[in-house]
Symmetry: D2
Subunit: 443 residues, 4 copies
Amino acid sequence: MTQAYNFSIDRLGKCSVPSPINLSKTQDQCMAKFVTDELSVIYNVKIKSDNLTRSYNKENLLEMAGPREMIYFDPLKLHAAIVTCGGLCPGINDVIRSIVMCLWHHYGVRRISGIEFGYRGFLPEFRFPVVDLTPEKVVNIHKMGGTILGTSRGGGEQTAEIVDTLERMNLNVVFIIGGDGTQKGALAITKEVKKRNLKISVIGIPKTIDNDLGFVQKSFGFETAVSAAVSAVSGAHTEAHDSINGIGLVKVMGRESGFIAAHTALAMNDVNYVLIPEVPFDLEGANGLLRHLQHRLRIRNHAMILVAEGAGQNHLQETGLKDVSGNKTLADIGLFLKTTISEFFKSKKTEVNIKYIDPSYIIRSAHANPSDSIFCARLGNNAVHAALSGRTGAMISLINNQYVHVPLELVVSKRNKVDPESSLWRDVVSLTGQPALMTNKRF
Amino acid sequence: MTQAYNFSIDRLGKCSVPSPINLSKTQDQCMAKFVTDELSVIYNVKIKSDNLTRSYNKENLLEMAGPREMIYFDPLKLHAAIVTCGGLCPGINDVIRSIVMCLWHHYGVRRISGIEFGYRGFLPEFRFPVVDLTPEKVVNIHKMGGTILGTSRGGGEQTAEIVDTLERMNLNVVFIIGGDGTQKGALAITKEVKKRNLKISVIGIPKTIDNDLGFVQKSFGFETAVSAAVSAVSGAHTEAHDSINGIGLVKVMGRESGFIAAHTALAMNDVNYVLIPEVPFDLEGANGLLRHLQHRLRIRNHAMILVAEGAGQNHLQETGLKDVSGNKTLADIGLFLKTTISEFFKSKKTEVNIKYIDPSYIIRSAHANPSDSIFCARLGNNAVHAALSGRTGAMISLINNQYVHVPLELVVSKRNKVDPESSLWRDVVSLTGQPALMTNKRF
Amino acid sequence: MTQAYNFSIDRLGKCSVPSPINLSKTQDQCMAKFVTDELSVIYNVKIKSDNLTRSYNKENLLEMAGPREMIYFDPLKLHAAIVTCGGLCPGINDVIRSIVMCLWHHYGVRRISGIEFGYRGFLPEFRFPVVDLTPEKVVNIHKMGGTILGTSRGGGEQTAEIVDTLERMNLNVVFIIGGDGTQKGALAITKEVKKRNLKISVIGIPKTIDNDLGFVQKSFGFETAVSAAVSAVSGAHTEAHDSINGIGLVKVMGRESGFIAAHTALAMNDVNYVLIPEVPFDLEGANGLLRHLQHRLRIRNHAMILVAEGAGQNHLQETGLKDVSGNKTLADIGLFLKTTISEFFKSKKTEVNIKYIDPSYIIRSAHANPSDSIFCARLGNNAVHAALSGRTGAMISLINNQYVHVPLELVVSKRNKVDPESSLWRDVVSLTGQPALMTNKRF
Amino acid sequence: MTQAYNFSIDRLGKCSVPSPINLSKTQDQCMAKFVTDELSVIYNVKIKSDNLTRSYNKENLLEMAGPREMIYFDPLKLHAAIVTCGGLCPGINDVIRSIVMCLWHHYGVRRISGIEFGYRGFLPEFRFPVVDLTPEKVVNIHKMGGTILGTSRGGGEQTAEIVDTLERMNLNVVFIIGGDGTQKGALAITKEVKKRNLKISVIGIPKTIDNDLGFVQKSFGFETAVSAAVSAVSGAHTEAHDSINGIGLVKVMGRESGFIAAHTALAMNDVNYVLIPEVPFDLEGANGLLRHLQHRLRIRNHAMILVAEGAGQNHLQETGLKDVSGNKTLADIGLFLKTTISEFFKSKKTEVNIKYIDPSYIIRSAHANPSDSIFCARLGNNAVHAALSGRTGAMISLINNQYVHVPLELVVSKRNKVDPESSLWRDVVSLTGQPALMTNKRF
């Protein structure tokens, strides 16, 4: 359960510049105050009560994020850049806005560059112009979905060219908003920067609509995405319920992690079967999905299936394709299930009405709901504080409701997945009433 | 920072009934599994990294919630009741639904009674009928705001009469959904039940739209409430922005804790001054609200103030009144500010257009958003598991994203308030740009 | 422009029963009043001002709907049925609710039967039970999408069997909610009822999410559907805008009429090309879609296409299939365009990112927005008034903002289509900036 | 029922400039086409079918709006201005956006000035700067509520000074967005312009959240406002329903016309009493509101009252005050009812829980829903076509679903009010179940 790692975050140098922010340094003044470097946050909070004698250890701690009294960079001479990579996710504009506002209004930074279309924006061959980011430019962007900087997949593996551009642009700080692949790129950039002995802070902000990044309590935009998924499932449920032997089938995002599917089912109460990448299932056989479905239609006349895009890949032929980020192109489990179920009932001479919805981009292009907006605003603020204090190779994260710095090495070391033995999956099984495991042989 | 308390939860007796729920008992079966009694959750996760030698101690631990392999009650002979007390809050119906569904479908309980209109529903003189709760009755209630059981303030102090009714109804389990006052009542009931040597489990579920209950990471309905508040503030901001010297003024809930105001401001980006009960402010003087407002209008032509109902009570005459729950009736800070600001600018011969909105009940009567729905569903589930395993005098709560049992004694021992020295308030001050403290004399 | 038809609505007999509704019969009492049979509504309001000498004529008039002072049926002896046919549409439950409430509370009718799953529910072989409809049952159904009665396609052609069932059930009134095919069935039923000399009133309520029924100003649910479509298009636009050469492509409902597409484009401002069944377009050639698209990407880097499902069928191979209602199964224009565009740009060696969304059922399963709710409530009320006054073979409709009776013969005589020469299409062309006609040869 | 007026719209001169818009001039080309001047729209569509011999007459006709083949102004030399007056309303930014986009992209106009803060923006003493309006500036404004130009009351009576400014700015076209008072100002400006023999087109666009302007089928923003009101009423209903003898009381806009209240009640189904300015009601007596309320509480335990701000003013003392637009300041009927009802039940020794909501500005500051957005976009387009063709002293309106020109003289000649004898009010009475008239003596 516990995981050993080194909590120390890399720093560019000694902090000798007083922070221009006006906060309290002492207690009990009814005022917000600076964070001291000694503060840490316990990562793993579960413990067996018969094992209390062991002492706290560094491996289980993460550095607390927040503004420091003394900072590393002189804000007036600072040049910062922001880049957004990978797929869209609700809240990216909120993060951009927050970074720009905090840099500008709190630290007085005046040179903030937006890099267009992800890592590719750093590469000369694409010739994307750099965008000047000012408070006026970003003041209302959080009311729109997407990212004003545009995004793309790929480009992150050209580390040397990217760092060449960082040098050429005289950048001191780079904020990199993206998921697992993106943060791997950020780590490579950090190392290259270090090798060249440059004083450039690389700060990651975790963006993953699938919630599949490690060391992130919940990724921004996730709640908004679940809300959008709930609408789609609600529609499919209505369709299924109001048809003769209606079967609602909705595919949601989740290549390797079924969090969107699991949470959507918990929010909905109308889903009967949740299929996620982490839990195998059989189609045929006494304990397979098709028999369970057939049984349910017999007694209830309608059924609702929610499937994450990465679920049941063993049932599909490998496509063998990869997208430009290097992610495997998945075969379409939604269409596969639609066909398989349809044929099964045809063979049983039972009329069924399958209503398949693939909400796809609708889920990720929404603008952030208030809860996600708050989260994004605070992530952005803390990213700025981290950068200004000279941290590098760190990602800002929320762990146990505390904002912390997580070393990029740690971030890319594991993915976040639905643990079938966790209370989350237990509550999904409990609320849907689906079999605890739909396989014919226990393993 | 650390707080000493005894983590042990009262139990009615030995668990000798096998749980009817079908979960795994062993690891690595890709299946949800039971929770063992030894599992605990660390409450306070902040630690100074120079202080790592101290060992974990029981005072900082809370018992993990969840289904047990062996339970105390025989579900087939169980009679459970649900009561909802105090003001409305998004998600109450979700909790009711979840409790009924879990009792009925997972444990097979068939006698579930709904008590109408809060604690008063237990009192014979009010003659409210008892409602039979079944899956059919609750299946769609989560789509509506409010509580199907109705609610009221007061009645909780008549402990003996309530326990008389519990006895008379042969109840084994009572689920009590409510805030601070309600949980105090639940504690009194627990003690009276114990005194009479009855085998009745009393389980609290925390409901407080103000998020002001201790030992609760975030109360259900809070996010939904913030969303509703955001709409109101958004309206006032539009009005202020589009008028000559427009001043938007919105009052939100928050008698003793300013969480709704703080979070709304973070979600909005358009609020300039947030006034909460926890942070004092002056009206007059060089560092008072009025001067700051005057200055802002001069340079920006509009301003937005967000005030929690309990803020600045020192500026108001005490009303001396109490409501039926015994809560002090607060004087209306919203109307007071509206008048004060209006007169100030009249005296300065400056035309201002004040747009005052008191969204009041709109905020708390909404139905829960998906995120709150999930939370409610899981709270309800865990409350049922706690009761069936014979816990009593316990409240279900979420701490560091883990569902736990909190002793009622602990729950009522402190309120949750916005800590002005916390990162939350720091981010509010930072995002609004308001002075760190609007008082003329530092204290 | 003018169309000749006979405005008279069939009546079952003389109205000799006083209406139990308490309304005024005279003017100027500040009270709602009964409608007299002489009132008519002009259908075609466009006129050339040089042609004013012609007199009003009966062919251009429709009978005004509403409660009559004297009615035909004795409400206390009445047995009414409601059936919902065809695809889902926001607001069906509102209509059901309104019919039941008006029958029950205003006329005192106590026997109201719900027929399940459309016309098939009348057919003995399907053995669907009849649902007893009461105010308690329908009080909250308008908060849910779909229809509580369920629906299906087909069955309407078995006229004799249906009328057998009407006789067997001793029904006096049948309310039939459905689209073009359904109303054709209703007309056949009316004729069969007349042939058998039965006193059964057949009243249609127009339901068509495509807004393609003639003599209907705007069909209920249409606005809600457009709102849902706007969300999908908004998502696709964000995706397209934020990608390198992003092309958003959304398919919306509209088999024969492009109203949803046209209105969505007007509401959005971000659509560049709207393709509807009524306006032909070429793909290839100097004035074809592909060239225009290529040009736009060159200058603007992104584009947004909105296509109605029935558009451009000439480009597709006929599927030759029909669904159970007898509607031609359309080939999928959305997937066809996705492939065609993709291959075109591949051949031009241009990287494009196509983001295709098919929101399908999401659009039609929503619950009605307030505006549609109002419309449904009033349609239902007027349907009841029509039935009670002994009208038959009539559909309730809104024409020039007046509720009227339209003979079913008239209803099924023409479909409503987007007139490319109308101001609606003109405004679409104007707002999107798309070419007035994307064909290579004017015809 | 019929009203005599002269349909002719004033024109600045002969149209000799070919329109730069590319539309068809002939029929049957599957293309949008120009509107000819001869086309008119019948205003009053209700007719007694025994009176069909009378011929159409000019008094009942309105000129059809839309683009003309020949226009009056040379777009390249045109200077246009837009001003927004009075209170906020959803959709103003949509109208501004549409006017700017149509002027710029379709006619090629490049000088478009925004006048800030209403008519006052024309007056030199206020020294508001003029805003340059371009497509870039307005492209996303429809996503925000309010008006980017700001607004204010008053100033419109200073006709000469305003026209001085028009002359000084060399304006050719002024678009005036506002309600009754504003359009009166527009009429005065039109006359002054004519007196000075200037070639300035004055075009009004009707904006009234109360829907109280004559010759307007439904004002823009009205539907959105009703949706917002529905939310507030829904909240109050939930509160009332879930309390002991709960009474929900909501005040909505509607100074002289109760349309918002009437439509909200129709959309809601949960309102029991709708009080509007057009229908008198008594408080006391056997048929007064209080007795009806008492009776309802006895049998149903809760009640919901919806009151328009202008209702029941006879029960209140005149305030004698006027606001800066010259509108009477109304006494607060909401607070009055709250107090009156409260005291009535106190005197009856009945516990009641009154939940009063005054959503006020929340209702009018929302951004337009899709349906209103479409309407606004088309109003703006048609306003531009009217101006370019040299019309003046005209307002753009929608009558019987056709866009028309209405002479300003006509617009200001009558207000739109809820007719208690209309089907609208009949359906309100029917759906709420409230007494047809709550007065003790018929009058």
